[in-house]
Amino acid sequence: MPVTTLDDLKTIKEQALPKRAERLAHASAAQDSEIRPPTPKEKRVILARCGVIDPEDVYDYIAEDGYTALLKALTTMTPRQVIDEVLKSGLRGRGGAGFPAAKKWEFAAAQQSDVKYMICNADEGDPGAFMNRSVLENDPHAVLEGMIIAGYAFGAHQGYIYCRAEYPIAVKRIQLAIKQARELGLLGKNILGSTFSFDIEVRIGAGAFVCGEETALMASIEGKRGEPRPRPPFPAVAGLWGKPTIINNVETLANVGNIIRNGAEWFTQFGNEKNKGTKTFTLAGDVVRTGLIEVPLGITLGEVVYEVAGGIKDGKKFKAIQTGGPMGGCIPEHLLETPMDYENLGAIGSIMGSGGLVVMDEGTCMVDIARFFMDFTQDESCGKCVPCRIGTRRILEILTRICEGEGEEGDIERLESLSKYIVAGSLCGLGQGAPNPVLTTIKHFRHEYEAHIKDKKCPAKVCRKLITYRITDDCPGCMVCARNCPSKAISGEKQKVHWINPELCESCGICMSVCKFNTIVVD
């Protein structure tokens, strides 16, 4: 039965609530383990329904006043009023750059074209980030509702959700949600009995990080290689198949329903002056509590590390926090007072990115981390711009050399000047941001680079060519390490002290990770 009035939605709500209560009463720990109860510094808005509603049941979303925002927009607001309300809320794009969402819609609304497209960017390629996956899997209708409202605001009739292939559950749930929304008349022709029609199709990526960049993403939907192209023309003017197109991130769109439902004023109570609302972050790495969090924009990095995440685990010392994924930076302890917002993170050489936070303790080598990120970016570079393609490869070669103890005087300066060329000569954000991890680690952890280059030492004891493993005389001879060594480098008899043959040892560290008696040390 199609829904057309607020009363219809209310009826569904009344039917759904008792069912939910029953389901929750019987629910075991089957819910998403990444969603924990909030800590005091947190504020759950986007995640409010995650883990509470059944993502495979549209009625359950309606029971949380779902689709009332769509009804409100379609029946009581003009497209212009929708844009104005979202402008007033100050909502900025959550995909990385932080551009005001409704500003883009305004550009697209001004274009004269009978065909316009609305794209939801669900490519979430940043390693260490999974907030979009959680929202798609746990609250798919919120994304749909936001997309339909956005489509109404600038006059699009077709939407695409571009989701990465690594997220099969998210794809399944969003497809089911689309089907259910169509059945209720929330999607398709004459939505909620209005004159507005809009439909959505899911498109799946195929494992290319650069497809998260908006122009590459559009090329991919068109069925081509996902290579970015120069802007202008901006997608809002000429995007998918040359038509005006808006691309917004999953979380940006998930905010839209709440803003229309509760008003811009409600939204602006969270956050600071230029950064309104809340933002989800994912915590990974060496902290006590990893997982998904949501905090008002502008709280400090330190508050997140020590209060929300519970500090560093195993009593170790903090070394750095990485924000913004492979194009972000590594931030040291003395900058933990930095507020997490677009301007302040940018000012210290990092970016907000999509919100992945990886915390590293004293056992992490910052040169090795820089090498890791460069390996990522040079592998994912689409190859169109020479500075990005060759430059990142050259940086990777130098970093690999340094990590292997072959670093030379002048390498740090070489890295810095190469970085400058890459930033200046790259077309898209991937190349422009690629040097960030290198530049921030050189800036804040220069002594580690110097230790590798001058003393041929890895202070964190990570770089394989610069360390040796050794078994101490306390070894009770449990034989576990010998069984697990992939290089067959360990010998010894049962209940006797074991030893490592340095000729065979590849310094992989497996023995140390499996020894229950802590009798393996690294020098």
């Binding site: 290319a208 996902g226 990886v358």
Partner: protein
């Protein structure tokens, strides 16, 4: 030459299907035909079709690309260019189980390399290779979105989090019987 004439030019040797190529196995070929028929009308159908073929058949060989190009009436380069751009598309068949090791930031910091080395030792093949019995293919992949359970491994479409080098054999055993090495 008009494109119709071009198509009558004999195929280059590399494009001739091998004995076991899906293009000449009738039921596999029927699968391809069904996928093409279902999606070719969609705008931007190339990615959709390739994704389906990869999922249904497991790889997209050169002769399959050639076949697809003919069916869609596009130059072969348009198919080949897309297949080589995206890391999910493979031209060679994979083993029965695909083991993807996450090499994202959280998993790298969490010791993903040790898992790979251990799995390489257990199965006797390197990352990127398939075991001779065609049971397992070892592959690297980018963030699986399970970073708080690092290091993460995806076998087929099942996620295994919080791994350790000495536990990886237990994970592998869930899929095939392997002897203790």
């Amino acid at each position: 030459m008009r494109s119709r004439d071009l198509r009558s030019v004999p195929l280059a040797p590399a494009l001739t299907p091998a004995e076991d190529d899906p293009v000449i196995i009738p039921e596999q070929r029927a699968k391809m035909d069904a996928i093409i028929a279902e999606h070719s009308k969609k705008p931007g159908s190339m990615m959709v079709i390739l994704n389906e073929i990869q999922a249904e058949i497991g790889h997209i060989s050169r002769p399959m690309q050639n076949y697809l190009a003919e069916k869609l009436r596009v130059p072969l380069k348009d198919v080949y260019g897309v297949v080589t751009f995206y890391s999910f598309f493979t031209m060679k068949p994979r083993g029965k189980h695909r083991i993807a090791f996450c090499l994202g930031t959280a998993c790298y910091v969490g010791g993903a390399e040790m898992l790979i080395e251990k799995a390489e030792q257990i199965l006797g093949v390197k990352l990127g290779e398939t075991t001779p019995d065609k049971k397992f293919t070892l592959e690297p992949c980018r963030c699986l979105g399970a970073c708080s359970q690092a290091p993460a491994v995806m076998v087929d479409s099942n996620l295994h989090g919080r791994n350790a080098p000495d536990k990886i054999i237990t994970v592998l055993r869930k899929y095939e019987k392997i002897e203790n090495r």
